[in-house]
């Protein structure tokens, strides 16, 4: 199939300027479906701006982003919602809302598919909370429910036999508030979904270890520009990371969940 020939996501020399500040400059990369890309960079390097641009939330100053062969700007909100999910830090939910109802909001305009909601929760090991008030969960637990929401958003009815079009899953610091065990769970979940469903995943992180663990590719940003974009083991070098964070970084054994 010719669709496999072109990458699912193509980012071509994009720049983003907000108020007189150039936040991203000449960023270029591509990502195939089924692959995981880790986004690294110091605070203020432009990770979240790039994430927002990939989600279609920001107008580009120059350059273009193509998703599945079409310019991102030409996608309708509804079409994009079926193929692209974003998990970023989210405000508290203002009203009492059960976990199952929360996940169902992944597709607010569709008829409720309770089976698919349950399946998405089970995938995130969150099925036991389905009747709980979302606000009573811990931050780490809420994160897993948010991931389930995205799985439901991009998911299809379980009965459907048609092959699913590859999706793009964007995660802005998905492990920010997680303990070691939760972090390991979330990372392996993301990686497994990417392989099993042929989704492209972009996640940002402050921890190169997370990129080492699951990323196929890594993109290092410095002051809005690409410092390195390559396969993860090539991009994640002591020299690149030292340049990325502006201080010397060395590879040492460390405690990791396995």
């Amino acid at each position: 199939m010719s669709a496999w020939a072109i990458p699912l996501l193509t980012v071509d020399a994009i720049s983003v300027r907000i108020g007189g500040t150039l936040l991203l400059r000449d960023v270029t990369f591509a990502l195939d479906s089924g692959k995981v890309l880790a986004l690294l960079g110091a605070n203020g390097a432009g990770k979240s701006t790039l994430m927002a641009a990939l989600a279609g939330e920001l107008p580009l100053t120059s350059g273009r982003i193509e998703f599945d062969g079409l310019p991102l700007a030409t996608w309708t909100a509804a079409a994009l919602a079926g193929r692209r999910a974003l998990n970023a830090s989210e405000p508290p939910v203002p009203f009492a809302l059960s976990v199952a109802d929360y996940v169902a909001l992944g597709q607010p305009f569709a008829a409720l598919d309770a089976e698919a909601v349950a399946a998405a929760l089970a995938e995130c090991h969150a099925a036991e909370w389905r009747g709980r008030d979302y606000a009573t969960l811990s931050l780490g637990e809420q994160m897993r429910v948010q991931l389930a929401r995205s799985l439901y958003q991009l998911g299809r009815p379980l009965s459907s036999t048609e092959p699913q079009s590859p999706c793009l899953w964007l995660l802005d610091e998905p492990c920010a508030h997680l303990d070691m065990a939760q972090r390991h769970f979330v990372l392996t979940l993301i990686a497994r979904i990417a392989r099993e469903r042929e989704w492209a995943v972009v996640f940002s992180t402050h921890d190169p270890m997370e990129a080492q663990l699951i990323a196929d590719h890594a993109l290092l940003l410095r002051k809005g520009e690409v410092l390195a974009f390559a396969e993860a083991n090539e991009a994640l070098t002591e020299a690149n990371l030292s340049a990325c964070y502006g201080r010397s970084v060395a590879l040492r054994p460390a405690f990791v969940a396995v």
């Binding site: 909100a77 405000p91 203002p94 009203f95 809302l97 909001l105 597709q107 607010p108």
Partner: protein
Amino acid sequence: MPRAALVVAVLLVAAMLLSLVIGAYPLAISKLLSGQLNDAEWSVLTQLRAPRVLAACAGGAAFALAGAALQALFRNPLADPGLLGVPSAAGLGAAIALIVVGAGAALWIGALIGAGVAIAGMLFVVHRGSAPMAGGTVTLLLLGIAINAACAAGLALLTALASEGQLKTLSFWMLGSFASLDWPMVIAMVVCTALGGVALVGQANALAALALGERAARTVGVNVQQLRVRVALIAAAMVAVITAFCGGVGFVGLAAPHIARMVTGSSPRLVLPLAALIGALLCVLADVIARSIAPPIELPVGAITAVLGVPLLVSLVTRRVER
């Protein structure tokens, strides 16, 4: 939900019947139900009681619908139509009309103009898309506070200028009343409330997704900017029409959605219709109380709803703090 709605609907019908027979000129409920009313009684029913019962229903439903929609829109359970500043703007418009032109129709036209100016100001800010904060919820809230403060200041200045008689009309009108409305006004209120209610229910799914936060709502396909303009416009227009004819009836817009959420959960698809029924019920009851405490004197209905609503508000706020 259907059972809860049915219970509230039955209560509402009972309250409406009660409201039709109670008052300075009591009607026998048996006569009303069997249709054996004499001419005087018939005219009390059709010219005094029926319009005011319907006005109370429409007003309560409109404030409740607007409150439920705004609470979802602002993601804030304490949001109230008064938050947008529309009732105060309507009040200021009415006050200006009363003092410049005089009582009568000018009062209502002034209220409509005032509310219209408030809505236009709100939309102007929402549409100025360039500034980072433009159209944000915080912007809308701050604008509502500003409108409220400006209108309060304007009213304070005007009350100083008003004559004794004008002051009385004005203060009574400001506190709200469903009395002395003509049929055309009542029909206008009912039509506006029905249209606005249908329009808001049409936005219920998008409003539901807003519980996730504005960014996540956008991710799942909601056009947040458009939703904000639509809901703000519909809610403000409904509140303006009701305030123009009935004055400011406070706390219904806050209380009714809360009660509805306690019964049916937070989904706007269920909360909006149920809140409308509860709001209508609250206003019909408040109106009955307003004219049966010290007949033939009629107490301002807005004061009654406030007396009922304040304890509720306090309990809600304190319970929220505890959680």
